[in-house]
């Protein structure tokens, strides 16, 4: 529940403390169920006062209810009908490739992604928005409908807890499927290593954009995948049914990095073309730093 301390392995109190005061606000118009921080596409339903909520630093002072302030010495914001709540769809990749944990990384990519998803869910729920969770690999494993109820966080964490990675990443078809299913516009937060065909990924993103979702792509990568630091003959056992490769990594390091950077560049360029936010999330960086950096930039 927002404002409460959640004792769960995906939610580090220290991280959450550092995220205090941050919000995930929609840059675009979103379709909420009820009043919220975000602009609604609907007009004329009510322009009247709906309810109060606590002032948070950064809120627009125009909406401060000065009368209440005069009576109670506490600052509340008036919420009107033209503001609606945000629906944040967290798309969490739970494929086998997300299981990888490099030699110098504290967490596997999946664990890091789970923490990331939990923190975002906490953040969204705390700002009284709704959050949905979709776990997928080669198909959609779980789909938790969006809710703004603070107890919803427990459900999300429980679902993430039960994740058992087995399948292969097939983002394209899944994104198309979800684009059809998620009718209400919101923020699509994709948390994945995206080890899939780039064209397929970008096609899925395009579909989301067609549905007028705002897209945030959190690209979770291990440091070893980005730097390839191995120097002994190594058998690389392919995850997700990919073949094993026995090679001297020193001889291929540059070539590998070139391939990897080309892939990243294509992905970034595709995101930029779709108006999606591309955020590189190295698993060796502290979670709060990644989130606060992005959210601050997003302001």
């Amino acid at each position: 529940m927002p404002g409460e301390r959640t004792a769960h392995r995906f939610l580090d109190p220290a991280v959450l403390a550092k995220l205090q005061g941050l919000e995930l606000r929609a840059r675009r118009i979103v379709e909420g169920y009820f009043a919220g921080l975000h602009r609604s596409p609907f007009h004329g339903f009510s322009v009247e006062f709906a309810e109060h909520r606590d002032y948070a630093p950064g809120d627009d002072l125009r909406y401060v209810d000065w009368k209440v302030f005069g009576k109670t010495d506490r600052i509340y914001l008036k919420q009107f009908e033209e503001e609606t709540n945000l629906i944040c769809y967290l798309l969490l990749d739970v494929s086998q490739s997300m299981q990888y944990r490099g030699p110098e990384s504290p967490l596997s990519k999946l664990e890091y992604a789970q923490c990331l998803a939990a923190s975002l869910a906490y953040l969204v729920l705390r700002q009284q928005d709704s959050v949905a969770l979709v776990t997928f690999d080669d198909s959609i494993r779980q789909l938790i409908s969006p809710r703004g109820n603070p107890t919803h966080l427990k459900d999300l964490l429980a679902v993430m807890e039960e994740v058992a990675p087995t399948g292969k990443t097939r983002t394209g078809p899944i994104f198309h499927d979800l684009a059809e299913r998620l009718k209400q516009r919101g923020i699509i937060v994709i948390i994945s290593d995206l080890f899939d065909d780039v064209d397929s990924v970008l096609a899925g993103l395009k579909h989301f954009r067609h549905r007028r979702h705002e897209i945030i792509l959190l690209h979770v990568l291990d440091r070893a995948e980005r730097e390839f630091p191995f120097d002994r003959v190594t058998l690389f056992r392919g995850l997700e049914q990919l073949p094993d490769v026995l090679t001297d990594p020193r001889s291929l390091r540059k070539a590998y990095l070139a391939e990897f950077e080309a892939y990243q560049r294509r992905l970034q360029a595709g995101c930029r073309a779709q108006g999606a936010d591309y955020v590189l999330v190295p698993t060796d960086r502290p979670l709060d730093m990644v989130l606060s950096a992005y959210l601050n930039r997003r302001k």
Partner: protein
Amino acid sequence: MLPLPLPLLAFGFGHLAMLGWLVAAAAPLIIHLWSRRHHLEIPWAAVEFLVAALEKNARRVQLLQWLLLAARTLVIILVVLAVAEPYAERLGLSYAPSVRTHRMFVLDGSYSMGYRPADMSLFSRAKHLIREIIDGSRQGDAFTLVLLGDPPRAIVGHPTFSKNDFLAELDGITLPDAGGDLAATLRIVLDVLKQVRSEQPALDRHEIYFVTDLGRTTWQPNAGSFSNTLDSPTSLSTGMNQSTWEQLAKLAELIVFDVGLDDAQNTAVTSMTTSESFSVVGRDGVYEAAVRNFGSQPKTKCLVQFLVDNMPIEDRRIDIPAGSEATVRFVHRFNEPGSHVIAARLGNDLLDADDTRWLAISVQQQLRVLCVEGKHNAARYIANALAPDPSSLSMIRVETIHESEFVEFEIKNFDCVFLCNIEQLTPGEIEEIGQYLQQGGGIIMFLGDLVIPERINRAMGSDPNTHASSPSARNDSDRIPLLPVSIGELAPESQYHFDPLEYRHPIIQPFRGHEAAGLLSTPVYRYFRLEIQPNMPQVEVALALDSGDPAIVIAPVHQGHVAVIATAGSLASVDSQTKNPWTVWPVWPSFLPIVRGLLDHTIGGRRDLHNVRVGQPFGEVLSGSNVVQGDKVEVTRPDGTTHVVRLRNGAGQMRWIFEETDRAGVYQAIGGASPDARTQFAVNLDTSESDLAKVMGSDLPSQLTVHKTWMGFDEPIPISVMRPYHIHRRLIYLAILLLFLESYLGWKFGKVVA
């Protein structure tokens, strides 16, 4: 059989089994295979990027891997081959078969190599060493051999590829009794080397081995402390030698095997002489031997034995301090005329060659002197001075003839000829005098009132204006003036006296301290001014006049001696104006000693002809109706071999010359004019080589690599350096290069870019 050479490399494995280390060359391959089997194993998500990189670089990566593997393998192979190479070479398992080496051996043939500190002389050791090197050489190597001697010889001047042929030549070399002319030897070495390089271009490598005792007299002749006969001292490090060393070093590797000892002791008889200018039967002669201790330790009770005609006559024991010379004399009287040899011989000594010295002398019944006078009584006082007692018991028999009879006499039968107041000489007489001087005869010429200077000068070749066109000038030797002076104008009449010139000359020396003996008071009224021939060497003014003009001039001419006295030898020469005699010297007390002195000083030439140095020829000029061109003379050398030489007609004379005088000792000649007569010749060493001091290593040219091969008397020769063509250095360089290549490839391996 000498032991195998010591290991050349400090990290040698000990023997040929080290080639087994070639198996180590498989190590990189094994490590490579092992590492592929014992690899890390990790799950990997980004396999598709790895596969893509692998597909694009597979060929290049594989090539680099092979190159790296090959470089590592090759490094091990090269190092093992380099270390094992010397042993493989010894067993003929060369892995550098294309390299062929020319080995030139310069064997020190100076007689100091005859030093025998143990059961083997240095020369034998040197030959043994060369044999070892030859045995260690490979098929296809070529060999040449030069003897460092005086003169040097190219024993094998054209390269031979047959070890047996070369060793046969080597075995046939005997040590000459001569020194070593390094400069001449180096010239021959350079010539042979250049010739081999041009004729045998297939020979890839050239090595020159100097096997020597590094004697200072040979290697640094101008630095010796005892050098009595060196003609052209040449420094090792300067001048021509330095240039030759540099040329040789550019063309070949220069190696010195030092077979000498550092503190060798040696004693030698350095001279054998007699103070008598002539020897006659029944007259005591004093003979003198000089013995020098060249070592650093004194010699005590050193035995010196005198021999006459090879029969021991007298033994003496003397003490000689280190580095000093002692003189031993003995007296002997010959009872038989003929050719005799006196020798001085040392007792036990480690170098035999210089332990004996010989003196060949001709002992006569009487000394025969011919006096030729231009006018009556011109030789009277001279004959009286020479033979006061004209009986047959006199040592000297004088025959006096008139100038007109001169042409009929065979003056070769006389030991000395006095020309007394001769007016002129015919060409035939001049030719006779020239031949006589070539046979070592002595001519003493007293001038007088009959002498016509222009004619004498022209006839005797002492007139520079007419000499070149002289009909008698047949060759260069004939052009040498027969007189050491040109007879000048007659000095004005006055009373002159002799100036003894500080009694320096041996003829005048007896008057030192005897001023009352009459020399200084001898009056001379007329004399011819003598002008010394400018181009004649060794001209001596024995006596002068107080006017400053020479009174007696003596010089060697050809093999003999000529003395010219400026004034008359009799009272018969008178001034044409005053009718006074030119001088009263013939009746003065100083006349007899000086005439005797002149005789002693001018008749030594014939003895000199019978006593020569090693390498110098000897011979005789014969005359007489029974002498025919082609007649044979048998010469028996000291080693017992007999050589036949033939009489040849040269410059109007019948003569024979024997040139194979490479061994010291007594040579006996039989034949020629008197087939039964035996003439003995003494051939002696130039004893400068007897000084066994060695040249300092720092004085040797820097191009030489010196290896000492004799550490002690009883040790075998440790051949610490065999110089077959070694490629180990190149192998090591190549291995180092490959190590750099391996590092580069390893670096490149990690930098492969798609």
